[in-house]
């Protein structure tokens, strides 16, 4: 008898995703499907709007990583205008992205994931959340919250607001930085770096406990995509696209972001509003897109770069690669990579701020409409983000395509859910810790839907089991 298990967190809070597990006759997991049931239609209602409005319009896609959309959109706007923006604007945009990586990664690690890691997968769900963490590890929780607050304040200081900032615009940045802001930021970086180092130490000390999770939380060969530069250092704002394989060999390099469609295909699915992007050159048959599975985000970025480009983060990267056995292919290592990126961000932010050019008042280029099409990218905390715009001669949008990081991890998240389910689900029984591990497997990717369904540290779930004739044989609810 084959069964289907539906884990459906679509109910009750935001209605974003569901997971379906297909069991075979022996009750072992055969296949897994991760689906997003939310439809938003940004690409439709952006049509007809002026390109100058696009950063603020598309930033509304997300309240956690709006800076990523602002940057990708503003860069697409730069391309439509055909301008080379002032070098100080580039520095400020880089700095605001570092602030964003710090705050978003801090949220993912401290608020969302550390309750599992520190309190245990089997801990009572009532305390396995950020409040439980505050009770158990008050200093760590406090520092994590302050770290996120610092990242948010960096964004506010440069771009005018913590969330959906108005200051990142086509052509550069709206306002130059003041000397007072620079001083404030430099003083705040000391604690931020210390917190990042301590969190990294803590995670490394716990790594031994999670041998099974590291093995079963989506450990599989895949390609990895990220922005790259000629120096081989960790890139998060500019450069070209690079794919590396599971052994770290370069699969495709020096790809102009404008040519992303030559390498990335998007397979629509009948059961999800989230398309499944794949690496085109490896896929001949559209029914077998998994051959082109690739991952984006911290894990992929650390596989794509040679060095982090900052001393402490480079030391951490060496230890990370030893622990991962070279190229990291376990999705559990997303957490580890995320912490190294926070550390690198604090170091690189200091480097940018120590350069007096950061105070240069020339931060914005102006121009009319000079190109009909442009592609903008940025490395969002969750991975490479693409905005492609087609405009008319007046700068009104005719066509929009956005490829979001979470979407690019879609195939990999499916595989991760499948591995976890195979490791822990046995028969018709689905105990809470198993639900939590399935959820945590997805959470390792820090997908956008985690922010809306994890406000109190627990994803609402509805798990239903069906036999091969479609009859419900079991149901588990929580949340």
């Amino acid at each position: 008898m084959s069964n289907t298990v539906i884990i459906d967190p679509v109910t009750r809070i935001e209605g974003h995703a569901k997971i379906a597990l297909q069991l075979d006759e022996k009750g072992k997991v055969d296949t897994a499907r991760f689906s997003v049931t939310e439809f938003r239609g940004f690409e439709e209602f952006c049509r007809g709007r002026p390109v100058w409005e696009m950063p603020s319009l598309t930033a509304r896609t997300c309240g956690i990583c709006p800076v990523s959309h602002l940057l990708a959109s503003a860069k697409a706007g730069d391309g439509i205008m055909g301008v080379r923006i002032p070098s100080t604007a580039v520095k400020l945009r880089r700095l605001v992205n570092l602030g964003q990586i710090i705050q978003s990664h801090a949220l993912s690690f401290f608020h969302l994931s550390s309750p599992d890691l520190l309190l245990g997968w089997d801990a009572d769900p009532a305390i396995r959340n950020v409040f439980g963490l505050m009770a158990e590890e008050p200093e760590l929780a406090r520092r994590g919250i302050r770290l996120r607050g610092f990242g948010q304040s960096v964004i506010e200081a440069i771009a005018g607001r913590k969330v959906h900032s108005p200051g990142i615009v086509p052509g550069g940045i709206a306002d130059p930085m003041t000397a007072e802001t620079r001083e404030w930021m430099l003083s705040g970086l000391t604690e931020a770096k210390q917190t990042a180092e301590e969190a990294l130490e803590l995670f490394i000390s716990m790594l031994g406990k999670f041998e099974r999770e590291a093995r079963a939380f989506g450990t599989f060969p895949s390609l990895h995509l990220g922005l790259a530069n000629d120096a081989g250092t960790w890139e998060n704002y500019d450069g070209h696209l690079r794919f590396v394989d599971a052994e770290g060999n370069v699969a495709a390099d020096n790809i102009d972001v404008a040519d992303y469609r030559d390498y990335i295909g998007e397979a629509p699915r009948h059961d999800s509003y989230l398309k499944s992007p794949y690496f085109k050159p490896l896929v001949e048959d559209s029914d077998d897109v998994f051959k082109g599975v690739y991952r984006v985000g911290p894990l992929a970025r650390l596989n794509v770069c040679k060095t982090m480009g900052s001393p402490l983060a480079d030391e951490a990267l060496t230890a990370y690669r030893e622990a991962a056995g070279g190229t990291a292919n376990s999705s559990f290592f997303y957490h580890y990579a995320r912490l190294i990126e926070i550390l690198a961000s604090t170091e690189l932010a200091r480097e940018l701020l120590n350069d007096d050019a950061i105070l240069n008042p020339m931060v914005r280029a102006t121009a009319g409409i000079n190109h009909f099409r442009a592609v903008g990218t940025s490395e969002a905390p969750r991975g490479t983000l693409f905005h492609e715009y087609q405009v008319d001669a007046r700068g009104l949008l005719e066509d929009v395509n956005m490829i979001i990081a979470t979407g690019q991890n879609n195939l990999a998240m499916n595989e991760t859910v499948l591995q976890i389910a195979r490791e822990w689900v046995d028969g018709n029984d689905i105990p809470e810790p198993v639900l939590n591990r399935v959820e945590a497997g997805i959470r390792a990717f820090d997908p956008c839907l985690s922010c809306s369904t994890h406000a109190v540290g627990k994803m609402p779930m509805e798990v239903s089991m069906f036999d091969h004739e479609g009859t419900k044989v079991n149901e588990v609810r929580r949340g």
Partner: protein
């Protein structure tokens, strides 16, 4: 120079003031530092009385009257802040918001918008009417300016300033009732207009983000409605007011 016009005694919300014969209720209130909210009215332009935000109650009649288009009369008892008027203003604003596509979050005039300010002032925190969500195309054909009809509230400030101050009469209202819309010349794209002088007065007086400078992003619009008073005074009296005096 002392004003020698004959005066009348009036009251705003029970407080006595002196008004000039021939003066509107709105002018009288502003001269005396009394707030009557308004939208379509702009000093230096003719009175249109279309937005109905400035309506007041007058003791001798039940009918609400637009303060901008009602002259003061002897012993006039004017009420501004009554529950009825507050509810009425809110309704008018809600209808304005429901009629167009006003999305403050992505608007060039966010934070500098008279419609937005009026909503805050009036305590309008939600809209009870169905949003009409009309499909209106942005006109970005002008080399310097952009017209977004989604944000237009048909206050006709642009129509009046272009006709009365600039003398070009590029703007006008076409169609009627709920189909009424702002047009340039004979309903041609703004960029194709032969009469537009690119002076930008229409953009300066627009109370919302409907008329804006090209290339501006969220919240970057700067309007200058006081400019019109300066121009009007310069023409009628042959003297330039300093910006402080004009305000």
């Amino acid at each position: 120079m002392r004003d020698t016009r004959p005066t009348v005694n009036i009251s705003f919300d029970g407080v006595d003031y002196e008004g000039y014969v021939g003066e509107s209720v709105l002018e009288c209130a502003r001269r005396n530092g009394v707030t009557i909210p308004s939208l379509c009215f702009l000093e230096g332009l003719s009175v249109w009385g279309g937005c109905r935000i400035c309506v007041v109650e007058v003791a001798e009649g039940h009918r609400l009257r637009p303060a901008c288009a009602t002259q003061v009369t002897p012993d006039m008892e004017i009420k501004i802040e009554t529950p009825r008027l507050r509810a009425y203003r809110k309704s008018v604003l809600e209808l304005l918001f429901a009629e167009g596509n006003h999305v403050c979050a992505v608007c060039v005039s966010n934070g500098k918008c008279e419609l937005q300010d009026m909503a805050v002032f009036s305590g309008m925190d939600h809209v009870r009417y169905d949003y009409q969500a009309p499909r209106r195309e942005v006109d970005a054909s002008h080399p310097k300016y952009v017209f977004d009809p989604n944000r237009c509230i048909l206050c006709t400030r642009c129509v009046r300033v272009c006709d009365e101050i600039e003398g070009a009469h590029v703007w006008d209202i076409s169609y009627r009732g709920e189909h009424a819309e702002l047009i340039t010349e004979m309903n041609r794209p703004w960029g194709d207009s032969l009469s537009c002088t690119w002076c930008g007065k229409c953009v300066a007086v627009c109370p919302t983000g409907s008329l804006a400078y090209e290339g501006r992003s969220i919240g970057e619009m700067e309007h200058d409605p006081v400019m019109i008073k300066r121009l009007a005074v310069a023409r009628s009296r042959g003297e330039w007011l300093d910006p402080e005096g004009a305000i």
